[in-house]
């Protein structure tokens, strides 16, 4: 690994200043992607900016009225050890528990996972399904971006030079709602999604009031399949309606063939995972556990 | 007399015979006598006074580290087999 310098800004403003002064700087939260990429020569930098001393990037705040805010550098293990989050967003806790393994979860953050912008990022589909937004800070102030609009291609995001992701915001869980992220991996842990599906459903008296569905690893970016969710709205909760939504998700996928699976297999998985995730989310909504 | 089993790929020397009886009290003597009967065969088994690389000799079913020096009994079976490696 080539030499780089190291900075620990104490505020968002200071971090933005460093990013502006060093266009080649790289941000460090958990480092589970960055250090691997630097070592493999896939990325280069002359300055690593450690975000873990900036309060806003390291806070978890929950308010039943306003929802949940997670600092972009908060490692997964803090999310799943947080009892409040566990009660309000069980699917999010599951998500934080399946990124990498125990040691990776001690470092990796949802914000970092999003900013790495891998098509297979596990965090994106569920965050999209939950209607999460990104708070981004830059020299000109802050802006909010829906998670589905954050990634623009493999390893590319909407972040402009000098901008950084500060936190993620999840709206308060609607009544009678449930969410679930399911991914397919050949091992049972420590693996990259071959495909993944994140679902949130809101039920209303035996029917779907609304639903949001997003997919992982089957397009250049995490894929929000709005139509699949819309197809459920107003429909009765049954095999046929769920199958229709799963089929829309399957048909929307634009996967490639690589070492993790063929395009055909991945498309097939989208249908299976979407159906299973909807069923699991419905069950959760019915149990009142989200 | 000991029985020598001829490896499949060397049976061109023995006119297709898969086993022949030859005199000899050691593997070396057996091979020398084999050479008398089937000229040219020794060179395929022995190189510079040693069994060729990666060939082992088994007497009565047991691979021997003694190679050409191994004793052969009057009713012994002699086989030439690939030397086994392990992990």
């Amino acid at each position: 690994m080539k030499w780089f310098d190291y900075a620990t800004p104490a505020s968002v403003g200071e971090a933005v200043g460093l990013l502006t002064a060093h266009p080649n700087a790289r941000l460090l939260a958990g480092g589970t992607d960055l250090l691997v990429q630097l070592r493999a020569g896939r990325k280069e930098t002359d300055l690593v900016v450690d975000l873990k001393r900036i309060p806003e990037l390291n806070a978890i705040e929950y308010d039943p009225g306003r929802g949940l805010s997670i600092g972009a550098a908060v490692p997964c293990y803090r999310i799943y050890r947080d009892q409040t989050v566990a009660r309000a967003y069980p699917a999010l806790v599951e998500l934080a528990s399946l990124i990498g393994g125990t040691q990776i979860q001690g470092r990796a953050s949802l914000g970092g996972n999003l900013c790495n912008a891998a098509p297979s990022a596990d965090s994106a589909p569920l965050l999209i399904a939950l209607g999460a937004t990104c708070r981004v800070a830059g020299a000109l102030g802050t802006r909010e971006i829906a998670v589905e609009d954050f990634c623009t291609g493999p390893s590319r995001t909407v972040l402009q030079a000098g901008e950084l992701l500060v936190s993620l915001h999840l709206p308060p869980p609607p009544a009678h709602s449930g969410a679930r992220y399911l991914r397919f991996i050949p091992r049972n842990e420590m693996d990259i999604a071959v495909a993944g599906a994140g679902v949130e459903v809101v039920l209303d008296d035996g029917k779907f009031r609304s639903a949001r569905i997003a997919l992982a690893a089957v397009a250049p970016t995490p894929l929000f399949v709005r139509e699949a969710g819309e197809a459920l709205a107003g429909q009765p909760v049954n095999e046929a309606s769920i199958a229709r939504a799963a089929e829309i998700a399957r048909a929307s996928a634009k996967p490639i063939t690589d070492m993790r699976g063929t395009a055909e297999y991945r498309r097939h998985l989208c249908g299976v995972l979407t159906r299973r995730a909807i069923e699991a989310a419905v069950e959760r909504a019915r149990e009142g556990k989200r | 007399m000991p029985t020598v089993y001829i490896p499949t790929l060397l049976q061109t020397f023995t006119g297709g015979k898969s086993a022949v009886e030859v005199e000899g009290a050691t593997v070396r003597q057996v091979i020398d006598n084999l050479e008398q009967a089937y000229p040219g065969i020794r060179e395929r088994l022995v190189d510079q006074g040693k069994l060729r690389p990666n060939i082992s000799v088994a007497v009565d079913g047991e691979v021997t580290p003694m190679g050409l020096l191994e004793a052969v009994g009057p009713r012994s079976e002699v086989h030439f087999v690939a030397a086994i490696k392990g992990g």
Binding site: M1, K2, W3, A40, G101, F184, P186, R187, N188, E189, M190, D191, I192, V194, D258, M259, R260, G261, T262, Y265, H268, L269, V272 | Y5, P7, T8, L9, L10, S18, E43, R44, L45, D47, R52, P53, N54, I55, A58, G61, E62, V63, T64, P65, M66, E77, H79, F80, V81, A82, A83, I84, K85, G86, G87
Partner: protein, 749 residues
């Protein structure tokens, strides 16, 4: 000695090196430190096949912190000859070429230059400044591809060999093996059922967790001192001496603790380079591979193309069997197809057999042994075909195997007759195991069985034992301890001496300090080095009898020893008491044992496995796994079980997910432990073990090696279980979810 009389053998003492290994104090190769240490970095080819037109190292040499740069030209260019690389002979030019390529690189990751610098980061950065002009050549990546007419030729001087004969054909086929027994045509004519299937298996890696490493110091007295992790310190000594063209006595190799090998740490990759860099700099040089280097440039075991045809009569007797095996050697010959050919039908008594084996070079890393090398690929083919025939005949798969099982006196296709073996006993133990008749307990589940055989090897071992005045002994041996062999060797000495295992203090020493000892491999260490320890202990007993005789003023022949007590007439003295009287009876007592044993006993193993297949994703879950193996005599049952469990799980990984995923230009795309999916703890159930003991008449305690045979049956057993769960016969490895889904889909079509 009869089994029931043993007091140490068969017990489970704490391993002697245990405390060091659970506290982090044990020193492995990469842990070696020395004042003034420089760090080496190896530059590797980005192409799978290319001619190197020019290398310019000047920028690298000028980089601050760099102390030396070298290429293959720095090796002494001794004329080509055959050299023993630990388990067989290879041309020196191939051995040298794999360490640093000259003129041509033959696989992606092939080493060709090296840098020594004050830090590993500087060495790496400087290596990136070496300029190379490549002429990229087309590559051949699989055996069938490389065997085709017009395939890119790796070695212009390589001609196909057929039992010692150069055929004169320049080709990628290094060697052709053939075994014929009986009349194959007549055999198939007698058959009522014939099944013929083709199989493809992917290249897989041994996957040890510790990367290769070496530190070398070219000392001022001209001696070359090496510290490294290796399966065989004497192999490293001999190969290093050979490549550096110095006598073996000029090299001393100190084996550090080793973090796994499985056959992959027999070859020498780094030591000669570290030594030459040390010569150039006058400083010790350490080189440690990255995980990517380990995948791209060490190990792996051959991928293969196999065709197996078996015929059987209605009564369940196999009448004929034919196999065609083409194994990928990687860049240099030596694909382990010979043992594959010897093992492919080794479990069965078959009158009519033809086996053809081909050793084929391809543009992949030069393959190394991997636990029963060659046998797993072959058994995957045979054991799934056998399962299919048993099904067609309506026979229980174990009954079918029992009916055809090899026994003492069965003639193998490669000629010799078996001596005492445990094939029948292993299959009977499988049949008797409650797992075999337990209900499966759900849909999409299936049970499979398979068996495997491995020869094991003997090879030389040396050992000395010296007696301490407190009644303990020091045991000095040369077998690096990868899985508890210090203890299994010490226990055999303890048994002879009649003292507790804890009273034997085993130490693995450098090549200056013990007699020649071959690799820790081939399941030989507990068998052969244990035998050397047995001989050394017998030597001690002989000498101590003389000492007791001296004390008692009697004749040594009248002294007996049993369980550590020496007796003559009404006199007796314990081992401990006698040990305290050595000075007055003639001085220190040192025993020695050196063996190059025959009497190697092969080992059979068998698996029963239950799987569940998700019919929508093709994912296989291992629900229950039982491993059965003939150990001859289990010296330390815990470590025998450990070998069986570890081998089984490597076999499970090979079966389900592990593979070199190569792109068309020969780059391994999954060269990390994330994407080369070895099983994690969460992917497995407990692995139940049954140790069968059919004593090996060739060993003083009946030992058969247990290190290898256990990896052979899992892929076939799992394939058979998948068939019973999902209705598809898998004919390729790995049987990963997409492969199973494809099989399910193509069956529906």
């Amino acid at each position: 000695m009869k089994t029931q009389e043993y007091s140490v053998i068969g017990t489970r003492p704490i391993r002697h090196d245990g405390a060091d290994k659970v506290t982090g104090r044990a020193l492995y190769g990469a842990d070696f430190q020395m004042a003034g240490l420089l760090h080496g970095y190896i530059l590797r080819s980005p192409h799978a096949h290319a001619r190197i037109r020019r290398i310019d190292t000047s920028k690298a040499a000028a980089f601050p912190g760099v102390r030396a740069v070298m290429t293959a030209d720095d090796f002494p260019q001794a004329p080509d000859r055959l050299v023993d690389l630990g388990e067989g002979d290879t041309p020196l030019s191939y051995a040298r070429g794999n360490v640093l390529a000259k003129g041509k690189v033959l696989y992606k990751g092939h080493a060709f230059a090296a840098v020594a610098a004050t830090s590993v980061h500087i060495a790496e950065e400087a290596a990136g400044l070496i300029e190379v002009d490549y002429e990229v050549l087309p590559c051949a990546l699989t055996a069938p591809e490389a065997m085709q007419e017009g395939a890119p030729i790796l070695h212009e001087d390589l001609k196909t060999k057929e039992f010692g004969e150069q055929t004169g054909r320049v080709s990628n086929v290094a060697e052709h093996f053939r075994h014929v027994m009986g009349d194959i045509e007549a055999g198939f004519a007698q058959a009522d059922v014939i099944v013929e299937r083709e199989f493809n298996t992917a290249t897989v890696h041994q996957g040890y967790i510790e990367p290769h490493n070496a530190t070398a110091l070219w000392n001022n007295d001209g001696r070359i001192l090496v510290w490294c992790s290796t399966q065989g310190a004497f192999v490293v000594r001999d190969v290093t001496a050979c490549l550096l063209d110095v006598p073996v006595s000029r090299v001393r190799v100190t084996p550090m603790e080793i973090g796994g090998g499985f056959g992959g740490k027999i070859p020498v990759y780094l030591e000669p380079v570290a030594a030459l860099l040390s010569k150039k700099t006058g400083k010790p040089v350490k080189i440690v591979m990255s995980r990517k280097d380990v995948f791209e440039a060490t190990g792996p075991t051959p991928g293969s193309y196999i065709k197996v045809k078996i015929g059987a009569r209605k009564d369940g007797r196999i009448t004929a069997a034919q196999a065609y095996l083409a194994y990928e050697a990687g860049a240099y010959p030596g694909a382990m197809v010979a043992p594959g050919a010897m093992c492919v039908f080794a479990a069965y008594d078959i009158p009519n057999v033809v086996i053809d084996g081909f050793d084929v070079v391809v543009n992949k890393p030069s393959t190394a042994a991997y636990r029963a090398p060659g046998a797993t690929n072959a058994a995957f083919a045979t054991e799934t075909v056998v399962d299919e025939i048993a099904e067609k005949l309506g026979m229980d798969p174990l009954d079918f195997r029992l009916k055809n099982a090899a026994k003492e006196g069965t003639r193998r296709a490669d000629g010799p007759k078996y001596r005492r073996i445990g094939c029948v006993e292993v299959i009977e133990a499988m049949k008797k195991h409650p797992h075999y008749s337990a209900p499966l307990g759900g849909p999409n589940r299936g049970r499979g069985v398979a068996v495997g055989f491995w020869f094991n090897v003997g090879l030389p071992s040396s050992c000395t034992i010296s007696v301490n005045a407190d009644g303990t002994v020091n045991l000095v041996e040369g077998s690096t301890d990868i899985g508890g062999t210090r203890t299994s060797i010490a226990m055999q000495a303890a048994e002879v001496l009649g003292i507790p295992a804890e009273d034997v203090r085993p130490t693995v020493v450098d090549t200056d300090s013990v007699g020649f000892t071959a690799v820790t491999g081939g399941s030989r260490t507990t068998f052969a080095t244990g035998w050397a320890a047995y001989e050394a202990a017998q030597d001690i007993v002989r000498q101590l009898k003389e000492r007791a005789a001296k004390l008692w003023e009697t004749d040594a022949a009248s002294v007996t020893m049993e369980r550590g007590i020496f007796r003559a007439g009404d006199k007796s003295i314990t081992f401990q008491e006698l040990a305290a009287k050595l000075d007055q009876t003639g001085g220190p007592v040192v025993g020695r044992g050196a063996v190059n044993p025959r009497g190697v006993g092969g080992s059979f193993s068998g698996n029963i496995v239950d799987v569940e297949v998700d019919p929508e994703t093709g994912k296989v879950t291992i629900l229950r796994f039982t491993a059965v193996q003939d150990a001859g005599k289990a010296i330390h049952p815990s470590y025998v079980e450990g070998q069986m469990q570890g081998g089984s799980v490597q076999g499970i990984g090979w079966a389900l997910n592990e593979e070199y995923w190569m792109n068309g230009s020969g780059t391994m795309m999954n060269s990390s432990l994330l994407d080369y999916r070895m099983p994690t703890a969460l992917d497995l159930p407990m692995i139940d073990t049954v140790i069968v003991e059919v004593p090996n008449p060739g060993h003083p305690f009946g030992v058969r090696g247990v290190g290898e045979a256990n990896i052979i049956p899992p892929p076939a057993a799992i394939a058979n279980a998948i068939y019973h769960a999902a209705g598809v016969r898998m004919n390729r490895l790995p049987m990963n979810p997409p492969a199973i889904m494809e099989a399910i889909w193509s069956q529906r079509d």
